[in-house]
Amino acid sequence: MVLATSCVDSLDDYNIDPKRASVVPSTSLVSSAERELASTLASANVNTNVFRLYVQYWAQTTYFDESIYDINTRNINRNFWSALYRDVLADLNEAKRLITADNSMDAKVKANQLAAIETLEVYTWAVLVDTYGNIPYSEALDFNKPQPKYDDAKTIYDDLIKRLDTAIGSFDKSAGGLGAADLYFNGDTGNFVKFANSLKLRLAMTIVDVDQAKAKTLVESTVGKLISSNEESAKLTFLGSNPNTNPLYVDLVQSGRYDFVGTNFFIDRLNTLKDPRLGAYFKPNGGTFKGGIYGVGNNYASFSSPGVALEDPTAPSYLLSYSQVEFLLAEASARGFAVGGTAASHYNNAVTASIKRWGGSDADATAYLAQPAVAYATATGDYKQKIGVQKWIALYGQPVDSYREFRRLDYPKLTKPEGALSNLPVRFPYPVVEQNLNTANNAAAAAAIGGDNVNTKIFWDKF
């Protein structure tokens, strides 16, 4: 008996997993988060990222459920939510905890690492707010608070901007940061700071309709510190083999499926404008570019499908592009903010940068911009429409950004398809499981935002 009972006491190592690490390099968690974030944003998986459909770049062929806004069947809103909270924010938060606790590091490197992580967190939180509205924030990412309360979306945004400002202030460009663990900038602190400032610009312009004065101050504080070329864009360049390829390669090529074609709404517009990006965006069909109808079944062989550029496993996923920065500046300028240049000059830079990013030349851009329908001065509508339409065309590779900008600028005018199950969503409803897992807080949030449905606008979506 004595022998037997003393046995288990000597087996403490049975609880130690001999195949898994209990200690890891802290920056390896950042690498994982960066990869997950870039993958989630680029994905065309109908279980996760359906925004190319919502902004009507693409129509579906046989299964068009997502085009008519069936969100529940595939729990899309849950998968997108979880990817950002669990696979991005949780790892960034853990990295922050480990780095903060590490007293052996060089102080400057440590500060740069923490500031970089803070920037990535702010980016991710903003995507969540832009998609859902009020979300668990102040009590999130803590397993000791299994039912985190939801915070007000605007309050979160204010805090994000504050945190981003603090992070920008704590970068020291003379020192290193995340090093090679930073898959976006390979540890180039200078470029990371430009990314942080550009993100600040984006956040500021996002709230411009609800707080123009604040936006103006913020925007003007970023001038001269922004991403200023395609090379400086924040992006992840994927690798040639699984599981590190661009997820589009998996969705479009490896799956062997033929799920998507361009919409006639989009392709007709590109055709009309003789857009030099058309051949990169789509494959010709019988020598011409032809779009399918959004929200119904389409015969794959009859229409133009997503272009070869999207099928490259190493194609980058953009988090914040130079073109995007210039569009934001164009809009800021049009609103009378002191950002240097004119609305037209920034608009031209934005369009040019986009065309070049998709393989076009300066000459292509010049010719394109010379058309009355494109030129800033003569393009149809007010600045929101001019910028909205061209930004929509340019953000083809950034569906999450495009979905936000479409809602904010209200251009192009998109209409829901005839068989739609709801209106065109202006937000995702909360994941159904949140109702089960965090019932009271979820119900309170639903009431606070004015109803947990696809019609409730995010706080910045004033029009």
Binding site: K19, S28, S31, P146, Q147, V433
Partner: protein, 1071 residues
Amino acid sequence: MRKILLTAALLAPVLLQQVAAQNRQISGRVTDRSSGQGLPGVTVLVKGTTVGVSTNSDGSYTISAPSTATTLTFSSIGFVPVERPIGTESTIDIGLATDSKVLNEVIVTAQNVERTRNSLPYAATQVDGENITKARNPSFINGLSGKVAGVNIRQSNGIGGSSNILIRGTSSLFGNNQPLFVVDGVPISNANTNTAGQQTGRGGYDYGNAATDINPDDIASTTILKGAAATALYGERAGNGVIIITTKKGRKGIGVTINTGATGGRIDRSTFMKYQKEYGAGYGTYYEDASGFFLSRDIDGDGVEDLVAPLSEDASYGARFDPNLNVYQWDAFDPSSPNFGKARPWVAADNGPEAFFKTALTLNNSVIVDGGTENGTFKLGYTSIRDKGVLENSEVNKNILNFGGSLNLTPKITVSSSVNYSRVDGKGRYGTGYGDGNVMTNFRQWWQTNVDLKEQKAAFERTGRNVTYNFADPTNLTPIYWNNPYWVRNKNFETDSRNRIFGNAAATYKVTDWFNVLGRVSVDSYDEVQEERIAIGSVGLSNYSRFNRTSREYNYDLIGNFSKNINESISLRGLLGANVRRQQFSSIFAETNGGLIVPDLYSLSNSVSDPVPPIEDETRVGVDGIFASATLGFREMVFVDLTVRRDKSTTLPSSNNTFVYPSAAVGFVFSELLKDVSWLSYGKVRANYAEVGQGADPQSVLTNYSKVTTYNSNPLFSLPGTRNNPDLKPLRTKSSEAGIEMNFLRNRVGFDFTVYQRNTIDQILPITLSTATGYNSRFVNSGEVRNRGVEISGFVTPVKLADFSWTVNANWTRNRNEVLSLFGDFDNIVLATYQGGVSSNYAIGQPAGIIRGANLVYKDGQKVVGANGYYAQTVSSNEIIGDPNPEWTAGVTNTFNYKGIGFYFLLDIRKGGDIFSLDRYYGLATGMQPETAGLNDLGNPSRLPISEGGGVILPGVLADGTPNTKRVSNTNFGLYGYRRNPAGAFVYDGGFVKLREVSLSYSLPTSIVSKFGAIRGVDFSVVGRNLWILHKNLPDADPEDALSSGNRGQGYSSGSFPAVRTLGGNIRLSF
């Protein structure tokens, strides 16, 4: 009710005084008169004295009788006692006749203690091996279905698939609820390696559960211990009940038994789809020709556009069949086809998916040789079960070798050993759930009714290539969503094998006649490999994966047994024991990356990109237990049981790893006081209370990081999905039970009525968290589930004549479970989520595993239709739409015997238990069932445009209660299926009445058998299984078919396999 006892020296009570020397020695052997087998444990007593002995394991005895002795009495429970004058003989052999009293059968209880049924203060059911194998079921677990009250067995229809066994309901929310299996004292693994994805219907294979490695023909008897009072001695794993299996033992002399049998099986058509025959491929009017139903291409090059079937579309909402319409179909694009380049009439297929099923064939052969002498016995058995399924290229073969032996080294020391070796080889197990690996997903959810299966078969056999009906386009002949089903079965098959040895070596030392000590070492060890393939040319990426797993369990037991009559009225028996258990599980999973290079080469090195590092798992468990039990008997009338056990488990934090749990039970045989009541043969009441503690799953305490595949030489790590908990403590099950057993009219009628309640508290839950916490789940101690229920079993022998008897056995079980509390403020936690927007949940105040999803809206019991003419849906997608727990289950067997002819059948009944059918959720949308076509209220084809008199007015009322009159289109897909209806519209009652087993047997009379020399018995039987589903409510499918065993996936049906009706014969020869 014959019972073969175990090593008598160990177990039979030797209660009687030892006798003085120099008396006369009488020896002999006591046998069962009906079988000639030796009877161990028979009390041999010198009449009028307390001098007596027990027979040993083969029925032999030697007694020293005083010279004054005149008569010996032979008595054994279950047999009619015999008195025999001694005379001058020194050898007295005797045959005992069976006593029909069912109640006095000997039952194997915890730690292999054999007890008479009247002395048991708790519910225990014994099923003889004979009754399990009556219908020659290759799985002994399935052979128990419907035969035991309180035991709910749900079998899957896949070949070698899992069986889910629940004794008294679901008590552990996330942990294992399957009972512990113990073979001859050895706990054996019933592990199921199916992945969480497989269990939730996301594809993969069902590899079955490991307890099915037991040879049904080697089972002498099975005891099902249900409540914790009966099982507490087995320790922490016994909270869900225990199934004790006693294997056959050798007899004196040499005996040989040979069984040879074959069964064939065909699918039960009531559990498969019926297809509409009016419309062919397509989703509606989305394509190229004027009607919109067809592609329009110039195939023959005559400059005129031709009609081409929409090949890429996996639905049957296409053009109406018309034999005058010539349409280019898939075979027109297969150069090897006789129809290459030819259009064909647009008609429904002659051979729909039902033509895909073959006749299943099972060959079951076994031989057991056994024998023994005064000093020992042995048994050697071999069984081969070769099983070919109803799908192409599917087989599971089992080869099982058993050895058992015991030897009396000295009068005081007996050694014994048993070894069981099995090898199970599977090939082409059925793909399960949703996905292109499961042809059922294709047939039930996404099919073209114009496709002829025999032509698909011919195309595959002609070319050896994946010539599918589902090409991407006439100009792109790659498969788009679905492979040729014959390709799937013949090229994308899995293989697996499991090599296993379990057994024990034991020694018993008889210290005195009332105390002995058993030492035993037992091992259950197996290695398994599972390989899965997706061939180059299939839909999606080609792939090869392999999973190797080893499982080792060692148990070391030291048990002292004592048994003593304190005086004439009071007996005391009991045991003291210690158990040391060590388990080790080790596995590695690896797969190719980015596809395969060389066709048909299935090797990790044949990978387009470098394979990502394999996933290794290594877990160990150590539990030390000490235990004691005492049974106090008073005049064979009152029995009191007390047990206590202490376990110490490595799965818990060391500060909290010890737990002690007691049980107490009392039985009162009140019929002993009513001996003059002639109609009452037997009556007993019993009551008990017990607790069982339990540790956690291994490695639930410390948290580690997950390794993510390296990115360009940069290491990537991530937090794990589940947060572990260093403060876990043991969970506890509190179980109470009361019952009454009564037999009447000389045991012609009897019943057993039991009520029980079981509360499981401090559950160790990987509680699902909002991912806003950064985790999917976290281990906590929390939550309480209560199961309470009623079990009734009864028997009646309405007719009992010299040559003819008819006996009915029946059992009925009702279990109600309720989640009493969860964690913190949670009033609902999610067990699993599924495709179709449904989930399994635990909600406070609700039964375990309720299904949630969007539902229909009802007004006064009528479905509400929205203003748009479609059914309204609840605002929330989170309504309770089903409860998968049956309301009650029952089994009824009828047994008729006339001379050597026996006829037997078993009805297995389940009432209630909801099922969500993903098959119908999609299948009705894609227009496969007849109800999606046909005529509407106007007498016109409903699929015509509304403008041409088509369309449908969905039955129901508007929100104001007035009848719906809005006509909606049924031209394009979706009206009846998922697109226009919430998940709640596809929930069905899972009840059934099945004719589970039938057997007709004939034993050659001894007068004939004796002419064959060595042959002692010849039995023929014709057996049938699942021959007829008398009643069910789930259309098109078998409500019983399950994806896997375990808690997940219960009440969820996707890619369901039809039931198989099995008919066959068996011959048994005994020598």
